[in-house]
Each structure stands twice: as structure tokens, then as C-alpha cells.
Amino acid sequence: MQANDAHAHAESPALRVQFDTEAQQKDASTLGMWLFLITEVMFFGGMFLVYTVYRNAYPGIFALASSSLNVYIGAANTVVLLCSSFTMVLAVRAAQLGQRKVIILFLILTLLLGGVFLGVKAYEWNEKFQEHHIPGSSFHFEGMQPDEQAHAQLFFSLYFAMTGLHALHMVIGVGVLLFLIRQTQKGKYSAQYMTPVDIGGLYWHFVDIIWIFLFPLLYLIDRHLKG
């Protein structure tokens, strides 16, 4: 603590000493979050790249394996996730207006929708276990030659890695939401200072964007081949 640090802008308790204005502080936080999200884009980007390379190498097998996923469950889950993004943006809006009870309401709704998404995902994964579509020694995809089985395993390895990593981000997002709900209840946020809600929103929407790409790539693009 610097006792002699008598700043002219000490009227706002939320403003840190290194910033001149609240707007500048907010812009810095937003920029920092986007930098983090860009590293996440590259992180997921590597997986999207591997997917592209192998789908290009084994298009027929990937089409068959992809078509075994339940497209209706996938689409419904996409809608659930988009709903959670909508409630999240309304929570951020409520934070901008300083309406604490509305923030909590929408954060809880977001949390519930996120939970539904993860629940459906768990149901889908369980289905894969029952169908022996888990990569490993007991993997079996109906009506494929042994060498094709290996390529089908590649698809499911990527499916589990990508949806698993996405689900991990959702679980972290649930933790972020719980933290935000608790802090809002404590009255930490107001119309003047709601940066954590805003930043949490950015994270949640980013996870949504990843799913927006995962859904067509994993569930949809070869659907027409099956007829």
C-alpha cells in the first residue's frame, strides 16, 4: 500500500491506480480477455486443423462415422447453448443498467441451460459407450473392414477430444457463473463497475462460438451422403 498515493480520482473504489478513467480500465480488461480468447482460438484451431487433415484423407469413413451421431440431439443442444448465450447477454445488459436481481436471475438461467447442455452431452457420450464407438480395444463400427475401423476410430477420437475440450470449457464456464452469482449477491457489481460480468459473458459467448463450428463439422456436413 502506498500511503502517499493520493490520487485525484480516488472517488471511485473500483478504479485501480494505474488507470486514468473507468472507461480506460474497462477497455484494458476487454482487450486482455480478447487476447486470452485468441489463444483459445489457436488452441481449438489446432484440433480443427487435425480434423480437416484427416477428414480430407478419409472422407468416406468420416462421412459414415459422422452420420452415426444423432443430428436431432445435436441440433437441440445447439439451440440450448444459443439460449444460454441469450440469457448471458441479458445478464450483462442488466449489469450495465445496475439491476442486481435481474443479473442474478439471468445468470442462474444461463447456469441451468449450461447444465442442460452438459447433461445432454453426457447422454450422447453414454450412447457412444453402448454402441462401442469409444476409441480403444473394444471399438467396433458396424460393417467396416479392419483398416477402415482404424480410420473410424480417428473420427471418434477427434469427436471426443473436441467435444470433451468444449465440455471442459463449459464446466469452467459454470464455475465462472457460480462465482459471478455469488459476487453479485454480495453487491460487488454496479452500473459503474461490472467488468467481471462483461468478461464472463465474453468467455461464455466464445464457448458458444466454438460449438457453432463443432456442430456442423461433426454432425452435419456429410449427412446427405447417408440419404
Binding site: 473507468e22 472507461a23 474497462k26 477497455d27 476487454t30 482487450l31 480478447w34 487476447l35 480468447l37 485468441i38 482460438v41 489457436m42 484451431g45 489446432g46 480443427f48 486443423l49 480437416t52 487433415v53 480430407n56 443430428v71 441440433a75 445447439t78 439451440v79 444459443l82 439460449c83 448465450s85 441469450f86 448471458m88 447477454v89 441479458l90 445488459r93 450495465q96 443498467l97 452500473a191 459503474q192 462483461d198 459473458g201 465474453l202 459467448h205 466464445f206 458458444d208 462460438i209 457453432i212 463450428f213 456442430f215 456442423p216 463439422l217 454432425y219 452435419l220 456436413i221 456429410d222 449427412r223 446427405h224 451422403l225
Partner: protein, 99 residues
């Protein structure tokens, strides 16, 4: 604060567009468009991602620096995909002597 606050109506319209695009992309997946099914699916996904980023993530009202960082990040992703695929897709174009 000089912060821009969108109306609930704006968010609701964006949300409706996102849901419509999800239903659309699912429906069109059953139509045989040949190699264009990938193109259409990814185009719809890019549009959805743009809607989420511009409206829900407030990129529309972000500072120029933030927008530049976002674009720069996407450029790096493009480099990652384009350079790797340009290698993968052209490997057998020219025969290698002795192979």
C-alpha cells in the same frame, strides 16, 4: 459511462436469427449439395459466429485496438489452416524421384 447499451429487442432479433440459422443449417444438411454442403454449412456457421461476436460480445462497440486484435487473431488461425492444408493437399502433385 459512455458505454453503449443495446435494447432487449436487438438481442432478441439476433437470438431469433441464430435459432433460424441453426434450423436452416440442420435442414440443408439433408439436401445433397455435393461438395458445397461443406461450404454452405461453414458459411452459415461463420454468419452465426459473426452475429454472436458483433452483438453478444459487443465487438461492434469495442475499441479499434480490440477489433484489430480480434482480426489479427483470426489471421493467425487462417495462416495455421491455409499453410498446413496447402502442404497436405499438394503433396502428390509432383512425383518424387525414387519413390
Amino acid at each position: 459511462m459512455s458505454e453503449h447499451i443495446d435494447s432487449v429487442k436487438t438481442y432478441a432479433l439476433v437470438f431469433a436469427a441464430l435459432i433460424a440459422a441453426t434450423i436452416g443449417t440442420t435442414a440443408v444438411a439433408f439436401v445433397d449439395l455435393g461438395p458445397f454442403s461443406v461450404v454452405v454449412a461453414l458459411l452459415i456457421a461463420v454468419c452465426k459466429a459473426l452475429l454472436v461476436a458483433l452483438f453478444f460480445m459487443h465487438v461492434r462497440y469495442s475499441t479499434r485496438l480490440t477489433r484489430l486484435v480480434v482480426l489479427g487473431g483470426l489471421l493467425w488461425l487462417l495462416i495455421l489452416l491455409a499453410l498446413t492444408m496447402s502442404d497436405m493437399l499438394t503433396r502428390n502433385w509432383v512425383g518424387v524421384p525414387g519413390r
